[in-house]
Amino acid sequence: MNIVVCIKQVPDTAEVKINPETGTLMREGVPSIVNPFDTFAIEEALCLKEKFGGKVTVLTMGPQQAVEALKEALAMGADQAILLSDRAFAGSDTWATAYTLALAIRKLGAFDIILCGKQAIDGDTGQVGPGIAVQLAVTALTYVSKINRVEIEPAPGFIEVERVLDEGRETLQTRLPVLLTVVKDINIPRLSTISDIRRAVQMRIPTWTAADLPGADPKKLGLDGSPTRVVTICSPPGRGATVEMIPADRVDEAASALVEKILARNVL
């Protein structure tokens, strides 16, 4: 089974600050991590490989330093990793990102399952997974919480999954190949051992540029290919109010004082 996992290196959002003078993101010194949802995608790919055999390829698009995210995936057990990095890709929005990743996946050849996290924690859009699927003309099943069954024979094979929707859990079946975006409760990602990490460090990670992607239309790459433009970025307005602490020396009195304050806000 050929499995492709698309991952993203993201700043640890807990550490992101805004420069109050320029209003720009202060990314220096902010640690980069593998997007947490993507670690579930990697783990699920490895579980599928253990069951069906085959190969797990991990892709990311980003600056050279994104190679660190790929090394983590290799340490977890992925077979190969490819970095898509080129100035021509810079400024990609979700449309151009999906387009570029889809070109790379096409170059890799036949695949059975593509896995992505449900969204990245920096942008929170969840659009790249479905976008890749449309670009490749395969079905996307989003918010998958469990893979119930995969049958690769007879061709084309099928997959049955559970997914989380707002009102509950849905069980779906579709033909392979398929793209799945996964949620947190699908699995618990494995930890890499020191020897896994040593092995991963020695693996070669090729970088593909726009020139390496057959059929790439330069007008659809990077900023030029992106329909959206970010025009301003600012800090969100604070909540304004500072907390009013209610003394709790006597619990009944505190409870009654709090109830009156909440009722006065007319939110019930």
Binding site: T13, A14, K17, L25, F37, W95, I121, D122, G123, D124, T125, G126, Q127, P130, G131, A133, V134, Q135, T139, A140, L141, T142, L165, D166, E167, G168, R169, E170, T171, L172, Q173, T174, V183, K184, K219, T228, R229, V230, T232, I233, C234, P236, R239, A241, V243, E244, M245, I246, A248, V251, D252, A254, A255, L258, V259, E260, I262, R265, V267, L268
Partner: protein, 398 residues
């Protein structure tokens, strides 16, 4: 109107495209496929052709050449088991405001099977026109037939703005539709305004876990597409006397050609679902054990609210993941959020700090949750919460 072109040399006359065309625009003539003027260039036939004999004209994939051809505001009305989701009516209220600013019409897209009543409701909520697409194959939401129907409508009628609720289905659908149309999509907007000079839609959204707000434009592609979260915009008041036009849209779906089937659905939220909840009582590690959630449920019941949890409580196995609020869980905007024994990690705050009133109860007076709270009490949850429940019960009864 842009139409597909068929390479008659390549065509083998298999008829697959005729079956898949949602608009009946493809016919067999002299043993090869031919296209008539019903074609909307929706592209449904492109992938089905085994010999790749069908192609779209170049311009439909690229930037929209003539932006003025795109007019009006559209809203997708999401329904589940024949009932419209409230988020869609919130979108209608917003769509109405934007349409008035652009001096344009508001159109609702209602897809499903046997949901005529929703088309009528859409007019009451502000639509001037409703595209009503009825087909058994649309009875249960599936991405590909829903996306194909909407893509076909957009290519044919060219809206300037297209809004969808940022529910899980809405995000799934919007991602597919925008990619197929090659247009911009801004997820989870918290603000939508018309730029007074350019007339473009200014879409504001949080990013980086709520640490920044970005304003985004889609200058050269149409429609300008946005998804908006629950409860960001006010629910409009329906007016059953409003007049509007309901357009029944024919669609041809061939079940054989839809790869996906829904086998089962287990409804898990008998209570109001978290993203729509007006009152949320949420518990964290400070509860100490899963039984604490029974106490929270009692308070939530008195308030007509819903129980939620921090990641710590979910990871401890005290409550299922569906209840998790925060960056890796759900983002909520209730009128009242009562955080019980939640310390307030940044990732949790990102999921709830836009609640209207926040109450924090925690034994640690230095817990970061107090930095976003309006009211705080430090002390023992197991004394304070039952007392609070009792007081609310008394006061709300009177």
């Amino acid at each position: 109107m842009a139409i597909v072109s068929i390479d008659k040399e390549k065509c083998i006359g298999c008829g697959a495209c005729v079956d898949v065309c949602p608009f009946g625009a493809l016919i067999m003539a002299d043993d090869v496929a031919a296209v008539n003027d019903k074609c909307t260039a929706c592209g449904a036939c492109l992938d089905i052709c085994p010999v790749m004999a069908i192609s779209l004209p170049e311009s439909t994939g690229g930037p929209a050449r003539d932006l003025t051809a795109y007019q009006g505001v559209w809203v997708w009305v999401e329904q589940f088991r024949g009932k419209a989701r409230s988020i869609s009516w919130e979108m209608m209220g917003q769509g109405r405001r934007l349409a008035d600013r652009r001096k344009a019409a508001l159109t609702a897209c209602v897809l499903g099977h046997g949901v005529e009543h929703i088309a009528g409701e859409a007019i009451a909520y502000g639509a001037d026109r409703v595209f009503h697409v009825d087909h058994p194959g649309l009875g249960v939401y599936r991405t590909s037939p829903y996306a194909a129907a909407l893509v076909g409508l957009v290519r044919r009628y060219k809206p300037e703005i297209f809004l969808l609720g940022a529910s899980l289905r809405g995000r799934d659908l919007a991602g597919s539709v925008a990619t197929e149309l090659y247009t911009g999509l801004t997820a989870d907007c918290t603000g939508l305004e018309i730029d007074p000079e350019s007339g473009f839609l200014r879409q504001t959204r949080p990013a980086f876990g709520g640490n920044i707000l970005a304003t985004i434009l889609c200058p050269n592609h149409r429609p300008q597409m946005s998804t908006v979260r629950h409860r960001v915009f006010e629910m409009p008041h329906p007016d059953s006397h409003r007049q509007g036009q309901i357009v029944a849209v024919e669609t041809k779906l061939d079940e054989e050609r839809i790869a996906t089937s829904v086998l089962n659905f287990v409804q898990e939220f008998t209570e109001v679902n978290l993203t729509e909840a007006r009152v949320i009582v949420s518990g964290g590690r400070g509860l100490g054990n899963p039984k604490g959630f029974e106490m929270l449920r009692e308070l939530a019941d008195v308030l007509g609210g819903t129980v939620a949890a921090s990641r710590a409580a979910v990871d401890a196995g005290w409550i299922p993941y569906e209840h998790q609020v925060g960056q890796t869980g759900r983002t909520v905007r209730p009128d009242l959020y009562i955080a019980c024994g939640i310390s307030g990690a940044v990732q949790h705050l990102a999921g709830m700090n836009t609640a209207q009133v926040i109450v924090a109860i925690n034994k640690d007076p230095a817990a970061p949750i107090f930095s976003v709270a309006d009211y705080g009490i430090t002390g023992d949850l197991y004394q304070i919460i039952p007392a609070l429940t009792e007081q609310f019960r008394k006061r709300l009864r009177s």
